[in-house]
């Protein structure tokens, strides 16, 4: 496993060009092309803002709600669509695995990376809202933002590796997954604030890795004051490295079966 892992950096170039291909191919033929990376999150935001500010009253401690929700929603979109896509990525790339000598782990990594690029492409909208609402940003806090992204990247790749490998053997994971992700979304403080959640819910949320990511994003971009959640983030960072290694281990164990199963 460690030997294969050590090979991974050699495929940087391949990952790069595959990510570029994914992005190009996705919007090929559509009129608006790359603008969809802006428009999609914007439309999503519109729907949620309408529901939670016009139809319902926004939860406590989340004013301005649009900005609050956007801080958590963007990373969540990256996470959720990475998992949805990576669950089917080995099956879709079956031709490569069966006919070309090809390190299969590249495929889920490319999926997560491509979705990260989409996340980056949507960031300008977030920046616009941050300026619009005059969010209380500080330089030391903003310096932590890339760290959160790195932790999320590692954590997501760990999940993607396990999911993609298991889906080869159990195709129904793809069907379960969308429901699981909906549940996970509501169990994460994205549309509501962690601070005002009941104590019992908070205790549960502490076991939810994505809750800590969401809170980190919110503390950095939305809430004033120092980044108090850094201890949790550091712990999650260590956990994510272990989780990535665990995911890689599972993937590596199942690797030899891919060429025969997909």
């Amino acid at each position: 496993m460690l030997h294969n892992l050590a090979q991974l950096p050699r495929y940087r170039g391949l990952i790069q060009s595959l990510v570029a291909r994914d992005l190009k191919a996705r919007y090929r033929g559509s009129v608006l092309g790359f603008f969809w990376s802006f428009i999609n999150p914007l439309l999503l935001l519109l729907v949620y803002t309408f529901t939670f500010t016009y139809v319902m009253t926004p939860p406590k401690g989340t004013d301005p709600y649009t900005l609050f929700m956007f801080c958590g929603l963007l990373p969540w979109t990256w996470f959720a669509s990475s998992l949805m896509e990576s669950s089917g990525v080995l099956i879709a790339g079956g031709n490569l695995i069966k006919k070309v000598l090809f390190p299969a782990e590249i495929l889920p990594i490319v999926t997560v990376t491509a979705n990260m690029v989409h996340f980056f492409l949507a960031l300008p909208i977030l920046v616009f809202f941050l300026i619009w609402y005059r969010a209380p940003l500080t330089v030391p806090e903003l310096a932590c933002f890339p760290l959160v992204v790195v932790v999320q990247y590692l954590f997501t790749i760990g999940c993607a590796l396990i999911l993609s490998a298991l889906t080869v053997h159990f195709r129904d994971i793809r069907d379960i997954l969308s429901n699981l992700l909906t549940l996970w979304f509501f169990a994460t403080p994205i549309i509501y604030s962690y601070q005002y959640a009941p104590d019992l819910a908070k205790r549960f949320m502490n076991f939810n890795p994505f809750a800590h990511l969401a809170i980190s994003y919110q503390e950095i971009l939305f809430f004033p004051g120092p980044f108090g959640h850094w201890k949790w983030l550091a712990a999650l960072g260590v956990g994510s490295i272990l989780w990535f290694l665990a995911g890689y281990w599972v993937f590596d164990r199942l690797r030899d079966s891919f060429a025969e199963e997909v």
Binding site: N4, L14, L18, K24, R28, K98, K99, I176, L254
Partner: protein, 464 residues
């Protein structure tokens, strides 16, 4: 994966060791029972069979204890029937699958031409696909840039290289895939029956490229059904049969042995299908004399002959006052068989039984090719033999001195009937034989012939 040793060490080691070393390799594939195939995660968790399900239970052995060594710079041709494990061997050498036991060692960069253009993305242009495919196959971006023009020229796609690959014809697609794979400049090239990707000109170009590889001391492993290619092109041949090595060594010898084996198998298959056709024909006794019911797949026996003799398909009919009990085809070697060399001798032995003595009979024979064209037909009456008497068990032999037919499958009509055509026993296209020939001439009839030239014309023999 390549060992993380330094390039210099690798090169030195590669020079000393053979390019491909397959040692006692067995490859077993899992075979799924239906239950396993539809197993879900839930049921696997519930029955705690998750781990058990992931380990093989029922297996199919594709390769069984195979050892092959290909020294550097040699070309090995792998032949064998479908399902004999040729492609599995290739995939093992390519590293795409892992052996169940034994070891596969390959020294040097490998490029596998297994499926051409396997990694192409339909939505993006040929140009972008060349880059990505090249990088996938182990080149760096700079190397692809350097070879790009050459690749496009080889694929003959200069005009279309910026069009999305989904607009390509299958031939264009394959050509581009081939061009990229061949320009990876591997030390070991694995080829799996991919030469049929273009027109004649392109195929020649591919063969030239292979020859160039050979000259430059590269190692080639070629899986093919084209035996001529193995004879011409390979230094060694390996014959696989049902996952085992059935022979290896000199290509001419191995290909010869393989051809003989294929012939024997075909012989058995022809005998079996002939027997089946006759069985079906005899089984349908008593069916109505409706000629329209004589269907190609379902030869039936009818009392009277069909109205239009030329449109009839396999079948048997007649009053059976005289019965054809057996027909055997005997070749030059005196053995009954179904496959004969063009120009050899062929005897058609017809056993007849006539319980009562009769004096009005004609024995006839017709040879048809696979399209149903009559190649030859005659009978005793046409040849001015006037029937006098037949009684009890008799035998008639129609002896062909020289079977001057081109290669192909032929069917026989054998019949006994009255002079006026009233059938005693008519066997329509119930006997099959195959004519084999090295020459690939066309038509039906091959006259005995030679070429003679005068003036300044010279040829040399293409056969080695």
């Amino acid at each position: 994966m390549i060992d993380p040793t330094s390039r210099a060490q690798l090169a030195a080691a590669a020079a000393a060791r053979p390019a491909i070393e397959v040692a006692r390799v067995t490859k077993a594939y899992r075979r799924f029972s239906h239950r396993k195939q539809f197993a879900t995660l839930k049921s696997a968790l519930l029955t705690r069979s998750l781990i058990k399900n992931l380990s093989p239970d029922e297996t199919f052995t594709a390769l069984n204890d195979i050892s092959v060594t290909v020294p550097r710079g040699r070309t090995l041709g792998v032949i064998g029937r479908n399902g004999s494990g040729k492609s599995t061997l290739l995939k093992l050498v390519a590293g795409i699958t892992k052996p169940s036991s034994g070891t596969v060692t390959v020294n040097g960069r490998v490029s596998a031409l297994i499926e051409l253009g396997a990694g192409f993305h339909p939505e993006i242009s040929g140009r972008e696909n060349v880059f990505i495919n090249g990088i996938m196959l182990g080149l760096t971006k700079r190397e692809v840039t350097k070879r790009f023009d050459e690749i496009v020229e080889f694929a003959e796609l200069q005009e279309f290289i910026d069009a999305p690959v989904k607009t390509y014809s299958s031939g264009m697609y394959m050509r581009l895939g081939f061009a990229v794979a061949i320009h990876v400049d591997p030390e070991v090239l694995l080829v799996d029956e991919v030469l049929a990707v273009g027109d004649e000109g392109f195929t020649h170009k591919c063969l030239d490229k292979f020859a160039e590889f050979k000259r430059r001391g590269k190692t080639i492993l070629l899986v093919t059904h084209s035996l001529g290619l193995v004879e011409q092109f390979c230094d060694e041949a390996l014959w696989l049969d049902a996952g085992r090595v059935k022979g290896s060594g000199d290509p001419l010898r191995i290909v010869g042995a393989y051809r003989t084996d294929v012939g024997e198998r075909e012989e058995q298959e022809l005998a079996a299908s002939d027997a089946k056709a006759r069985e079906t024909a005899s089984a349908a006794i008593g069916s109505p004399a409706d000629v329209a019911a004589v269907l190609p797949d379902n030869p039936v026996e009818t009392a009277t002959g069909p109205a239009d003799m030329f449109r009839a398909t396999e079948g048997r009919w007649g009053s059976r006052e005289v019965e054809i009990t057996d027909v055997t085809l005997v070749g030059e070697d005196g053995q009954a068989g179904h496959i004969f060399a063009s120009g050899s001798r062929l005897d058609v032995r017809i056993r007849l039984r006539s319980p009562l003595p009769i004096d009005d009979f004609v024995i006839g024979i017709g040879i048809f090719n696979a399209e149903g064209v009559c190649a030859y037909g005659t009978n005793t009456s046409i040849e001015e033999l006037v029937a006098e008497r037949m009684s009890g068990d008799t035998e008639a032999t129609f002896s062909i001195e020289s079977l001057d037919l081109v290669e192909g499958t032929y069917k026989l009509d054998v019949a006994v009937h009255k002079l006026d055509g009233y059938p005693y026993d008519y066997h329509r296209l119930l006997y099959t034989f195959r004519v084999k020939s090295r020459a690939k001439d066309v038509g039906i009839y091959r006259p005995r012939h030679t070429w003679r030239f005068t003036g300044d014309v010279t040829f040399k023999d293409a056969r080695r």
